[in-house]
């Protein structure tokens, strides 16, 4: 199959997630692929943030797609399919991080940032995002994971707690401290 631009529905209609989910559950692979197409960019940028590597993120996504296809019938509310997919992505990514050898080289996600700004984006926004990306790297590894799961993945404290095997209160505390550290890094705050 040759890659080509994503299909824009000729009628200009965005099929609702609920319709795509129902058809996918009934065995329609086309509907499933359309659903994946819609949410994959968010899943991939999340997986890259979480694993720190594009190659690892793609492995995570492959597995997540297959699992999503198998388990889609367990999703109770089709309106929540995006957060459901993000949760599956979290699980697969955390599994991968935990089994990874300690010295695997990791792409520098933050470094690529400044270069890939589109011209329309204001210099100020760009530099703020760049500063945040840089500040993130100063966080302890677990705090980074918690921050990414919460802010990028949209996970609840409970979900994060279960995945990292710590208490929800501890997640909340670490997240608050991570945010303070980020502000301190970015704005030269004195604590």
């Amino acid at each position: 199959m040759t890659p080509s631009p994503a299909p824009t529905a000729s009628t200009g209609v965005e099929l609702p997630d609920a319709l795509l989910c129902a058809r996918a559950v009934a065995g329609d692979q086309y509907a499933f692929q359309a659903l994946i197409r819609r949410h994959a960019p968010a899943m991939r940028s999340y997986a890259i943030r979480l694993t720190g590597s594009t190659a690892d993120a793609d492995d995570v996504l492959q597995e997540t797609f297959i699992q999503a296809w198998r388990k889609l019938d367990t999703l109770e509310d089709a309106a929540k399919v995006r957060s459901w997919l993000m949760t599956l992505t979290s699980r697969k990514a955390i599994d991968l991080i935990r089994t990874r050898k300690p010295n695997v080289p990791i792409d520098d996600v933050a470094e690529t940032h400044a270069k890939e700004q589109t011209p329309e984006q204001s210099a100020i926004t760009g530099s703020e995002i760049g500063a945040l990306a840089k500040a993130l790297k100063t966080l302890p590894k677990q705090s980074q994971e918690i921050w990414v799961m919460r802010e990028v993945g949209g996970s609840s404290y409970q979900e994060i707690a279960e995945l990292l095997d710590i208490s929800p209160a501890s997640v909340r505390g670490k997240l608050a401290r991570a945010r303070i550290k980020l502000v301190q890094e970015m704005e030269g705050w004195d604590s």
Binding site: Y30, F65, I180
Partner: protein, 204 residues
């Protein structure tokens, strides 16, 4: 006002503010912030962080969406197992052959035949009865959606006809009844977009 709100509390306060937690403690803290320039400044810095966080998340997602060649590659390599369901026996032309077709392939054929009809979408389809025993009478249960403005009676009749013909063509099932439940109405646009899914260059 010489003790300020600890930073961690301030950060949690902002989170509670979003989630709508308005406990007395929360309101008291809010009151302090309101009257305290230092805590207000710190809160504003945390709010700026929230905004930049959103910018970063949006930008990274847009970046992935803008060049989706990675996704094309990934989807073209994606092998999804079809839900095979039961095994339906077919008459063998040679006595040593054992031929079967899967329930999943029959249901897919029913869906295709049904949706070849303008005005109809097949939501679900089920084969009711012991399809694994040759010649046993079975029923086909279809849940369909009909386009707004079309006649439900006409669509239902034609849908039943197309499905019956297709089943005669591709299977040896002893179909007694084809029951169609119309559960939904849909717009012309939704039907087009749904049927276009199959014609997309990315279709599996």
């Amino acid at each position: 006002m010489n003790t300020h709100i600890p930073l961690e509390t301030l950060s949690n306060w902002l989170e509670d503010e979003h989630s709508g937690n308005h406990s007395p403690q929360h309101l008291l803290t809010g009151l302090h912030i309101h009257h305290c320039p230092t805590c207000t400044q710190r809160l504003e810095a945390l709010q700026r962080l929230e905004r930049v966080t959103n910018d970063l998340v949006t930008e990274e997602e847009n970046k992935q969406a803008s060049d989706s060649s990675w996704l094309d590659t990934m989807l073209s390599n994606l092998v999804l197992e079809t839900k095979a369901g039961r095994s339906i026996p077919l008459t063998a032309h040679h006595e040593l052959d054992t031929l079967t077709q899967t329930e999943g392939s029959v249901i897919a054929a029913i869906r295709r035949a049904g949706e070849s009809l303008p005005g109809a979408l097949v939501s679900r389809c089920r084969l009711d009865g012991d399809v694994e025993a040759p010649r046993t009478p079975i029923n086909v249960e279809i849940t369909a959606s009909v386009r707004e403005g079309s006649s439900v009676a006409d669509i239902t009749r034609e849908l039943r006809e197309r499905v019956r013909k297709e089943l005669e063509r591709i299977s040896e099932l002893n179909v007694e009844q084809i029951n169609i439940t119309v559960e939904d109405m849909h717009s012309f646009d939704i039907e087009q977009a749904t049927k276009n899914l199959k014609d997309s260059p990315h279709a599996p």
